[in-house]
């Protein structure tokens, strides 16, 4: 089994010394994210690719119609699967999930699905009988740190641009229309949570936003903050590592919260831009139901 390449002592010490002088190897400020970019599949709905520095993540949403779970007859289902495969780096194996993968999928699950970002009631078609099952698959194409941020942006962008087929219920029968018959329906998200990680160095004294791969190897802990567009904190996670004092922690969370707000605003702008482009291409104005007949 190939081992993950570790950084050398020299690099670790240099990074730490530099951080003590408020310097980062990339030339970024301690509280700056790497440049984010997003591309949407021009022909398909809900397929996005996000690039954060050298980290690249692709997400896509698939919709199927199933029976709702008996315990929750009025709800549809949303599943998010994140897998790190040898495609990402040779030391990730499919059969043996790594910690990185477990933590990533747990975070996505917790902060998107369980926080109710997408009201699953809206996915119900016929109580106890038919519902939509949304499945978001996350592929990490390149891993250079900052997986949570990139994965959240990818998943939410995918959900925001995906469509569920238009349906009609008549006398207990569900009729599903194809995209040609009737345009699909956009999902209604309650809020858009985004994760930003603050990596902890120097025994908890230094907090660094959006660590890259090398910084992630040298760090002593991480605080992941999930925030949304209105500046609410949806979740704070710290998986082990060094202790962080209360005052420092509050500072880090506040810093990350601000970053989350910025990312969500940027993402919403990008999604709207994409929707406008699609509407123009598909001549949505001419087909609108509001038009004179």
């Amino acid at each position: 089994m190939p081992l993950e390449p570790k950084i050398s002592v020299n690099e670790r010490e240099f990074l730490l010394d530099a951080l003590r002088q408020n310097l980062r190897l990339s030339g970024r400020k301690l509280d700056a994210l790497r440049p984010l970019s997003i591309t949407f599949d021009p022909d398909d709905y809900g397929v996005t690719e996000v690039q954060l520095g050298k980290t690249r993540i692709r997400a896509h949403t698939q919709t199927t119609i199933t029976n709702p779970p008996p315990s929750r007859p009025f709800e549809g289902t949303l599943t998010i699967t994140a897998e790190l495969s040898p495609l990402t780096a040779p030391h990730f194996e499919l059969a043996r999930p790594s910690d990185t993968e477990a933590l990533l999928s747990r975070l996505l699950e917790k902060s998107i699905r369980r926080s109710g970002a997408l009201p699953v009631e809206s996915l119900c078609l016929l109580a106890g009988d038919k519902c939509f099952n949304l499945r978001v698959t996350v592929h990490v194409l390149a891993h250079d740190g900052g997986l949570p941020t990139a994965a959240f942006v990818a998943v939410l962008a995918s959900l925001m641009t995906s469509r569920v087929p238009a349906t009609e219920v008549r006398g207990g029968e569900v009729q599903v229309f194809t995209a040609e018959e009737r345009e699909g329906v956009r999902l209604q998200l309650v809020h858009v949570p985004i994760a930003v990680g603050v990596s902890v160095f120097d025994g908890g004294a230094i907090g660094v936003v959006d660590a890259d791969g090398m910084e992630e190897q040298a760090r002593e802990g991480e605080v992941v903050v999930v925030g949304n567009e209105v500046g609410e904190i949806c979740g704070v996670t710290k998986w082990g590592g060094v202790d962080v004092g209360a005052v420092e922690l509050v500072g880090m969370v506040e810093e990350a919260r601000k970053q989350c707000e910025g990312v969500v605003k940027w993402l919403k702008g990008k999604v709207e831009e994409e929707e406008k482009r699609r509407a123009k291409r598909d001549h949505a104005g001419e087909r609108s139901a509001e038009n004179q007949r």
Partner: protein, 247 residues
């Protein structure tokens, strides 16, 4: 980079571009193939390089993975010590190379360097891997002709930067032999004003130590920029001016 003679696989090398020293046999290096009686054709994409004095021709390709070959200076990371040698990693995901405890200058069993896990060493390849015999490469920090270290040995402090294999080769090539558009002058320009140490590993690593974090970073970043953007000599001059002004 503006190369004048880029060849594609299968392209025939024109006779007039090959060196024609009547006294020596023509030696062809990687990327070229001899098809008898007298055709030389390219087997990979790249730029044709010729050495008229040594009557040699080879293709220069900036890509692929590093394959250890004898006498290459490389920067390795110590991953552990077993018996009589340190285990060293040359490139990620490849088997370890052995660096014997006694292959440092003036090393005896008592005075051998104590290298921790993760230490960096500038070493030379004594014997490359022999895959069929399952022998891993062996490294040394001694020049066999003088018995001295000749600059090889443990690297203390500083910072490691990743560079492309082509860049590493260009940095190690003396500027006299390099083609005009492959010359690297940025280190000379920065070295005129600043004092710093560098070590170039043919396995795609550059170690820089300027005894100052900002300067070490500036030198490393400048080289990485030259590498990634393929800056030619004039652009390197401009970059050096910019870097010196900021630092």
């Amino acid at each position: 980079m503006a190369y004048s003679d880029v060849l594609l696989p299968g392209d025939e090398v024109p006779q007039e571009q090959l060196p024609s020293n009547p006294k020596k046999a023509l030696s062809i290096g990687p990327g070229l193939r001899h098809i008898p009686p007298s055709t030389i054709s390219a087997t990979s994409v790249g730029a044709l390089n010729v050495d008229w004095r040594r009557n040699a021709a080879w293709m220069d390709v900036n890509g692929g993975r590093y394959l250890p070959s004898t006498n290459d200076p490389i920067i390795v990371r110590v991953t552990g010590s077993s018996g009589e040698a340190f285990n060293c990693q040359i490139t990620p995901y490849t088997s370890y190379a052995a660096l014997p405890h006694l292959s440092f200058q003036d090393a005896t069993k008592k005075t051998r360097p104590q290298l921790a896990n993760g230490a960096l060493v500038y070493a030379r390849i004594a014997t490359p891997a022999a895959h069929l015999l399952h022998i891993d490469p062996e490294l040394t920090c001694i020049d066999p002709s003088t018995g001295k270290s000749e600059g090889l040995g443990p690297l203390k402090g500083g910072m490691l930067f990743k560079i492309s294999l082509g860049m590493a080769r260009r940095l190690l090539m003396t500027s006299k032999r390099a083609k005009e558009d492959a010359k690297i002058i940025i280190l000379d320009r920065l070295g005129e004003k600043w004092g710093f140490e560098v070590a170039v590993g043919r396995n795609g690593y550059l170690w820089v130590d300027a005894n100052d974090i900002q300067r070490t970073m500036a030198v490393g970043r400048a080289i990485t920029e030259v590498d990634e953007q393929g800056l030619v000599v004039q652009e390197q001059e401009a970059l050096a001016q910019k870097v010196l002004k900021q630092g």
